[in-house]
Symmetry: C2
Subunit: 293 residues, 2 copies
């Protein structure tokens, strides 16, 4: 059984690392703040002092970090994972980062005989805890096949999209759909509200047909019940939309809808509510219509 390393024990990384332990993998962990390391160590993981030390003790190293610069630092910097990684090992970045950065890291890894997979996930904290994440993977077929049992301990839908970077690109496509579906439900519910409809009845009436979506059935009721608790925070969604925008710009690709949502999410941030769940967009549409709280 492959020995696994895990770097980045945040809201997503900690439950994922825990699921690897539960599946019987031997696990070495590292994290910027110490408390999460201690917690996992108490559950059977070996603590490490640096990313390089994690890599030295592992056949497969997983990183789960906030953004592109974090992954670059943890993998490429001095005492980073690549410094400690043995020839033939695999580094899997499961963060959502720039596809171009993922491709660049993959090249540097390849140059020293290490495989790199970009494998961002969808499904949020709930999916991380329940091991039901969707995992979109870019990189070598061979490394993907070897990493499959590891992915199977973390998620449900595991898809190799194509070469390095393509997992990140698929994740960005996923986010484009998700945020525009949120705008769709936000505008429809605000239209119904301003016109005086019973929104529960409206939701039920439109749920069966061409308007149906995960966002409608999962976030629609939260919008109606004024539940702003984050499944996924606006601030994180904005980070992903920045990645979408940067990548689309590099392709000379205009995305008018995704750009519009990014601007509207900014209005949420301007209110100081970036820690709300992304369903809070409905409040922004309501405020445009002077329906605001």
């Amino acid at each position: 059984m492959e020995r696994i390393g895990f770097i980045g024990l945040g809201a997503m990384g900690k439950p994922m690392a825990r699921n690897l332990l539960k599946s019987g993998f031997s696990l070495t962990v590292h994290n910027r703040s110490r408390s999460a390391v201690d917690e996992l160590a108490a559950e059977g993981a070996a603590p490490a002092q640096s990313s390089a030390e994690v890599a030295k003790a592992s056949d497969i190293v997983i990183t789960m970090l906030p953004d592109s610069p974090d992954v670059e630092a943890v993998v490429l910097a001095e005492s980073g994972a690549l410094e400690g990684a043995r020839t033939g090992s695999i580094i899997i970045d499961m963060s959502t980062i720039s596809p171009t950065v993922a491709q660049r890291i993959a090249e540097k890894a390849r140059a020293v005989g290490v495989s790199f997979l970009d494998a961002p996930v969808s499904g949020g904290e709930t999916g991380a805890i329940a091991a039901t994440l969707s995992i979109m993977v870019g990189g070598d077929q061979k490394a993907f096949d070897r990493a499959r049992p590891v992915f199977a301990a973390l998620g449900k839908t595991i898809t190799r999209i194509g070469p390095s970077g393509s997992g990140q690109i698929a994740k960005l496509c996923n986010q484009v759909i998700c945020v525009l579906n949120i705008l769709a439900v936000s505008e429809a519910l605000t239209l119904g509200k301003k016109a005086g409809l019973d929104l529960d009845i409206l939701l039920q009436a439109v749920s069966g047909g061409a308007a149906s979506s995960w966002v409608l059935s999962t976030l629609g009721p939260k919008m109606i019940n004024r539940d702003w608790a984050p499944g996924f925070k606006i601030d994180l969604q904005q980070k992903d939309l920045r990645l979408v925008e940067e990548f689309a710009e590099s392709l000379n690709l205009p995305l008018p809808g995704a750009t519009l949502v990014r601007q509207l999410f900014r209005a949420v941030q301007a209110e100081g509510r970036g820690s709300d769940g992304h369903q809070t967009l409905v409040r922004t549409i309501e405020r445009l219509a002077a329906l605001g709280e």
Copy 2:
């Protein structure tokens, strides 16, 4: 059993009238062009020369017409349905028209002792043929209860939304969600295409989670397979978005997303492709990225 009248035997109206015959209702029909009337008459319907004549022979009259002025003319004009309607009868308009016009017609009907229900549908020609339409109804609870067996012969999800006009408002909310979900999938697939992804794999990878929707699973494959045949035509969707815009304006309600899609659909119409299905929006996004055919 109530005697039914049906006015407007177009792509939607003809299969709906046929389903009423199949359910055993006695049916009187009228249509601007004669051929559809003859067709239904051959299947057992009684032909009528005017809307008033249909109403005289019926307890419940259904109209299924392109737009608000058509319904106003057929119901309110000389020799119209209201002229022929008996006290205690019901007129049901199943077209998608302006909520304000629906409310106005309801008032005029009420003044002469006739009930009026607005009952627009979702589900398109396929749903009309299969009797699986979603029907969103505004108007009196009593009239709705009496009309229920008629709706049951035409559709599957039948919801009374509220008072007169609210069926039309719910339909407009439905369309807002539907068109923004189409923009969502169009932008995501174009991003994936320009970045060189295998779109079938992408679609499969994002279908299981937060991006899932009826539009993704039903129209996504058509976009990938370049199938522009209409389930629902751009020209009709634009008519509905005009109704959304007029109604939202009357409420002082800005709908930035729905407005954006309306502008982009206009680009489809500018190409002379207004008869394509609404999934053809993906071509417009592709053309913005110089990926066009």
